[in-house]
Symmetry: C2
Subunit: 348 residues, 2 copies
DNA sequence: CTGAAAGCGCTAACAG
DNA sequence: CTGTTAGCGCTTTCAG
């Protein structure tokens, strides 16, 4: 009784799903030919190709991506490193990345960074040394992860701001929220407000965050007093706490917020302080998160194209991995001020 | 000139990261012993173990998960199938799943279902036939994906409601929002409202959704009229449109909404119709999404423990994959009515 | 306790 | 155009 090397015993019909060998055997071709059909790279005669595809369908064969990758096939998976997906910006960026990656045939992994997570374990989250990575580095945890990544991993990142010094990193994308913050500030000054206060989101760098800087730019250019930025967090609660005492001062008539959640907290604090929005106080947010158009009052805010940024970030990575065939990196929209009900002329 | 089989030419120092063989060679042990140390399964003498660990650190060796999995190692990866992560419920569930999975040492992949995505390509999203999967099946796309999954893939799912007929699926988890909807409805009736209107989220099944059913339960039990449920979508806009005409009718004094976004739209419609909340009209939402506590007025809503549900779903999957060692499935919180400013006594 | 051998499913050379 | 031969890095047998 002879048994060919590769075939498992016939009487043990383990429910193992079809492999490339099964397809090859049934189709009466070599395993390599099946591989060729799958990848469409090399030319295969139309007859064989059809037969192989036929068998593939019959057997319900699905290529094993792990084996493909292990055998040195092209990289077709990315891991996204991000912190706190509860935040609108990160979540929307993630959506953009996932969509673009999936469309390009990549499988995407996700790993959430905790505030506490050290640098050491970052590499351990990758499925293999050198796996492609995207980092959403809007906050400190993300920036640290980006920095902790071994040099040999192909990475692209969505960051809060352009690098502090030296040339731009060609593998990073960001939104020009400095200009946007300046624009929003000028808009408020144009409404007759003497100055604008700013509630800041936490910074990802030691340097001055972009939004803070843009706000200062505009005030300085207009020769207005520049108040201390109010340190806020990411939540409505932190916005509420940041301005609660400030709002007793009726000379404060305009507040720009680092994000829409902060603005939500600020509006609540205003209500409790008996300030009317926008009659008494103008509030402007940042992000244009989905609820903002329906708030009471609806929120004037800066729309940021996070999804577009995420798509672009993947586009960058794709070009890095496969400069020959990757399509051009898609553009993303410029920030745009959306004027709604929460802002108006300064009180007389 | 002789070249040993396994070693690449010395003069071509390709930056290939250290493999288990490299560790073995440097440590002067067999490759298998290194494997034993890594996995901690079999016993290794303390001396060798220490030496191996030492070398691992020196070389910066990291196991290749792909190779581990391919070689038949234990399954340590899951992919999550979900639709529209822009929705709070899905996003929060995803967070819970990811956290639990990562904590248990699993890498997690994510693949977003589109409304249009057919059943055929579902299996193609998996990294290998038989990969473990979690499905967030709160809507139709998720339910279809769950159904389309090949029988041999180990799956656990977070679903909108218990299966229509037959016994509960032991690999599914859900929130008891039927009871919660009934509770919220009774609360409103207790406030003196004659009846309660309901703006529904889209259903994932042909059967009556849980929330709708709970709302009807409570009205019937109290012998009140049961209005037609108003079909809504997921967005504030759809809530706005659903009730715009209805609110002209002053006899409508209480509206329960299938989620907080709908409630947001309803509140805006109410404002435009000149209705006062809660003096004139009570609005109750569902989910307790982050902004709801800070809205104007703040929203009475049903808090749902999506993150806990996600963690439990992973716990279930873990037990399915490894019944021996997986810890008990963590419990999640019961829905809870959070009373805030948007609801009050019926107008006189 | 340790080592040697045989693959996991696939792709990348090479032959024909 | 097609088949053959090596591995990818690891885990599982099976022998010592």
């Amino acid at each position: 009784m002879e048994v060919t090397g590769h075939m498992p015993a016939q009487d043990a019909p383990r429910a193992r799903s079809a492999s490339i060998w099964d397809v090859a055997r049934v189709a009466g071709v070599s395993q390599q030919t099946v591989s060729r059909v799958i990848n469409g790279k090399a030319r295969v005669s139309e007859a064989t190709r059809a037969r192989v595809l036929q068998v593939i369908a019959e057997l319900g064969y699905r290529p094993n991506r792990l084996a493909q990758a292990l055998a040195g096939g092209p990289v077709r998976s990315v891991t996204v490193l991000t912190s706190d997906t509860a935040l609108y910006g990160a979540a929307a960026t993630l959506r953009g990345m996932e969509e673009a990656a999936r469309t390009a045939g990549f499988s995407v992994g996700i790993s959430v960074l905790e505030r506490t997570s050290g640098q050491a374990d970052i590499a351990l989250r990758l499925n293999r040394p050198g796996e492609a990575v995207m980092v959403i580095a809007f906050d400190d945890a993300g920036v640290r992860a980006l920095r902790a990544l071994p040099a040999d991993v192909p990475v692209a990142a969505a960051v809060e701001r352009r690098p502090d010094d030296g040339p731009d990193d060609p593998w990073q994308v960001w939104l020009d929220d400095r200009a946007a913050a300046a624009h929003a500030t000028r808009y408020l000054l144009g409404l007759g407000h003497r100055t604008v206060h700013y509630v800041a989101i936490p910074s990802s760098t030691s340097a001055l965050p972009q939004r803070t800087q843009g706000w200062q730019d505009a005030l300085r250019a207009a020769g207005r007093p520049v108040p201390e930025p109010l340190p806020g967090g990411w939540s409505p609660r932190s916005g509420y706490l940041a301005v609660r005492s400030l709002l007793a001062d009726r000379s404060v008539t305009a507040v720009l917020c680092g994000n829409d959640d902060l603005a939500l907290g600020v509006m609540r604090a205003a209500r409790e302080a008996g300030r009317d929005i926008p009659g008494d106080l103008s509030v402007v947010g940042f992000d244009d998160s989905p609820p903002s158009a329906y708030l009471n009052p609806s929120l004037t805010t800066v729309r940021l194209d996070f999804e577009g940024l995420g798509r672009a970030c993947f586009g960058l990575l794709h070009r890095r991995l496969d400069p020959q065939n990757a399509p051009a990196v898609p553009a993303w929209s410029e920030p745009e001020l959306i004027v709604r009900e929460s802002s108006g002329p300064a009180p007389a």
